[in-house]
């Protein structure tokens, strides 16, 4: 057993961090929020060159994967830099198409996956509501999973819709609605379009897509939380009141310590889930990482004071994303229910 990232994985994270850190990502986020996808697409191409989207695509379709651990490594960095666009949705779409292929339906994968892997085609995805995908939860709000929208359908080259046993390639989308996170643009894909596949395999592949979406969201949320914490530690150390840095006050320190504890205990759940890809493990990672990120966002807002409550200050890019991710691809209640139904102590395997 060696439950640690290897040297290559750490180097991969560091190279993505350096690349995104020098690419003026906040400007791309703000452009994306205004409907200008050009800087965001440039960033997308660079991420694709680094292999990020190929990690969810099997080698048979010009991918590198499926490599969920490496994907989680990458998505922590995407979250750390608040990268805009349907990054999670592209990965989920790839998982769906790859899953269908594994179930004996390779046509859609052959046609679409190479362009997803290469970054040529950002994709988005609308899955049925979680009451169908997780019947055990019993409390699912029918709109909880996606709110009936596909993220950034206006920017996606491929919009997939799963409707019962059918997988559709949507031809267009409805009006774009604003999200609390301005860099997330919400639109409902048009119904109908081209039927890509039909049969019970579609629903099974959709469950696989849901697991990948949750894993990627969990990783993204962890990165968002780490960025919020890092920025707040830096700010609280610099901001002085009463003649001393506010970070020297115990009330401030303890909130930051609690944020670190929450994030650092979400991290092993994330990578444990990436290793197993079991739905309960993924759900546990998703709810824990998103709760940690959102708790950190609240701490960040409080400790920044009024400046944190402004749209012009970059903290808002991460704060609003933390809030949005918390409900995306499975609310905390849905994920807790799935985790409880499937997790055992782990130490003593059940016979």
């Amino acid at each position: 057993m060696r439950f640690l990232l290897d040297t290559e994985q750490r180097a991969f994270a560091a190279s993505l961090d350096a690349m995104l850190g020098s690419a003026d990502t906040p400007a791309a986020v703000r452009a994306w929020a205004g409907g200008d996808h050009v800087p965001g697409r440039a960033l997308w191409s660079r991420l694709a060159e680094a292999g990020v989207f190929a990690l969810a695509v099997p080698e048979a379709y010009e991918g590198l994967g499926p490599l969920p651990v490496d994907l989680a490594v990458a998505f922590v960095e995407l979250g750390r830099h608040a990268v805009p666009g349907p990054v999670v949705e592209t990965v989920a779409a790839a998982a769906l198409l790859g899953g269908l292929s594994a179930l004996g339906e390779p046509g859609p994968a052959e046609r679409l996956l190479p362009d997803l892997a290469s970054g040529k085609s950002p994709a988005t995805l609308l899955l049925p509501d979680p009451a169908e995908s997780s019947p055990r939860s019993g409390t699912a709000d029918p709109a909880a999973l996606s709110g009936g929208h596909a993220l950034d359908a206006d920017a996606a080259a491929v919009s997939l819709v799963v409707d019962g046993d059918g997988l559709w390639l949507a031809a267009g989308h409805g009006p774009v609605r604003a999200s609390l996170d301005p860099a997330r643009r919400l639109a409902r894909p048009d119904s109908g379009g081209e039927l890509l596949a039909a049969g019970p395999g579609v629903a099974r592949a959709a469950l696989r897509a849901l697991a990948w979406a949750r894993l990627a969201t969990a990783a993204q949320a962890l990165g968002v939380g780490l960025a919020l914490l890092g920025r707040t530690v830096e700010y609280a150390g610099r901001r002085t009141q009463f003649g001393v840095p506010v970070a020297s006050f115990q009330a401030v320190k303890h909130r930051l310590a609690d944020a670190l504890i929450a994030l650092e205990f979400a991290r092993p759940l994330l990578f444990g889930a990436a290793l197993s890809m079991a739905p309960a493990d993924v759900a546990a990672a998703k709810v824990t990482a998103c709760e940690a990120a959102y708790g950190t966002a609240r701490t960040a807002l409080q400790l920044h004071g009024a400046i944190g409550y402004t749209a012009e200050y970059d903290l808002s890019l991460w704060f609003t994303k933390a809030r949005a991710l918390r409900s995306a691809w499975g609310t905390p209640a849905v994920c807790r229910a799935e985790a409880l139904a499937g997790l055992s102590g782990g130490g003593r395997p059940r016979s």
Partner: protein, 381 residues
Amino acid sequence: MDLDLSPADEAFRAEARAWLDEHVPAVPPPSLETAEGFAAHRVWEAELAADRWSVVSWPAEYGGRDADLVRWLVFEEEYHAAGAPGRVGQNGVSLLAPTLFEHGTAEQRARVLPSMATGEVVWAQAWSEPEAGSDLASLRSRAVRTDGGWLLRGHKTWSSRAAFADRAFGLFRSEPGLEKPHRGLTYLMFDLRAPGVTVRPIGRLDGRPAFAELFLDDVFVPDEDVIGEPGQGWRVAMSTAGNERGLTLRSPGRFLAAADRLAALWRDRGDPSDTALRERVADAVIGARAYQLFTYAHASRLLEGEGIGSESSLNKVFWSELDLALHETALDLLGAGGESADGAWCEGYVFALAGPVYAGTNEIQRDIIAERLLGLPKGRR
């Protein structure tokens, strides 16, 4: 990155499980915080030791199995999943033994460890004093030089297990008046039945004497019972404190087993419409899994030669709050029956209540996290 056990580790797990299945008493012994229960737990330690299961991580020459960290974690998972009794010797095994391995002499190890492994000698800790709690370095109990050894004078308190234990270890001020309070301290072992020792048991919240005050009136300790160099006690003790806060005292196995029992209790007795309680059960189960995986990651780093650092403060806050949440949730699930004091959940709850306080309060831990892990400036406590 993987979570796979080697075939040899799996064989170790199977061997431990088989032994525990055969030996764990069907009826648990009485609470170890009673005279009768303490004696029964000693007998259990002897039974474990007879087949070398009492201190698996120690070298074979002292009664262990040379188990590495992964095997120790595996053993703990099996031990708690089997519902085996609490460990009466834990203070000695988790705190004193690591100190002896790091700072003791071969003679001390040979003299102290075998009887610790069998439960023949149970050790209590003697750190805190009435005026020295979180600020441990302000302690005032003295070790005064005398022929062939030291005379201990002072007042220790909150000494876990001391009501029934045989010996104790702790820090004493051997050079008073130095500028820095961490200097001039000496780490000593002493006999709780030696002339000059008065033990006054203290009832914890449920009245059971889980700890005691120690009044020391010129208690003679021979030189052979000093660990490390006189005056270097703080440095010696801090390696022990790292163990107490970190991996060794609180293994994930205990929380995993409790989380499994809690989930079973929810399935048996939970009201499906009480979604607020269900969320708490889920959080406890997820928390136990998170602690297990965090510990595997920590163990992996230690096996690659990294030391236990300030990260152990993350552990301490997390497990102590998880333990309390697990037990509070169980008591709420039990409803009106939850207050029944003879239940395992109630006993576990009272035990868990102390977690955020001992081994360095969680407020001190958060200071350490903020200053050493996040790099925030020091301020007044």
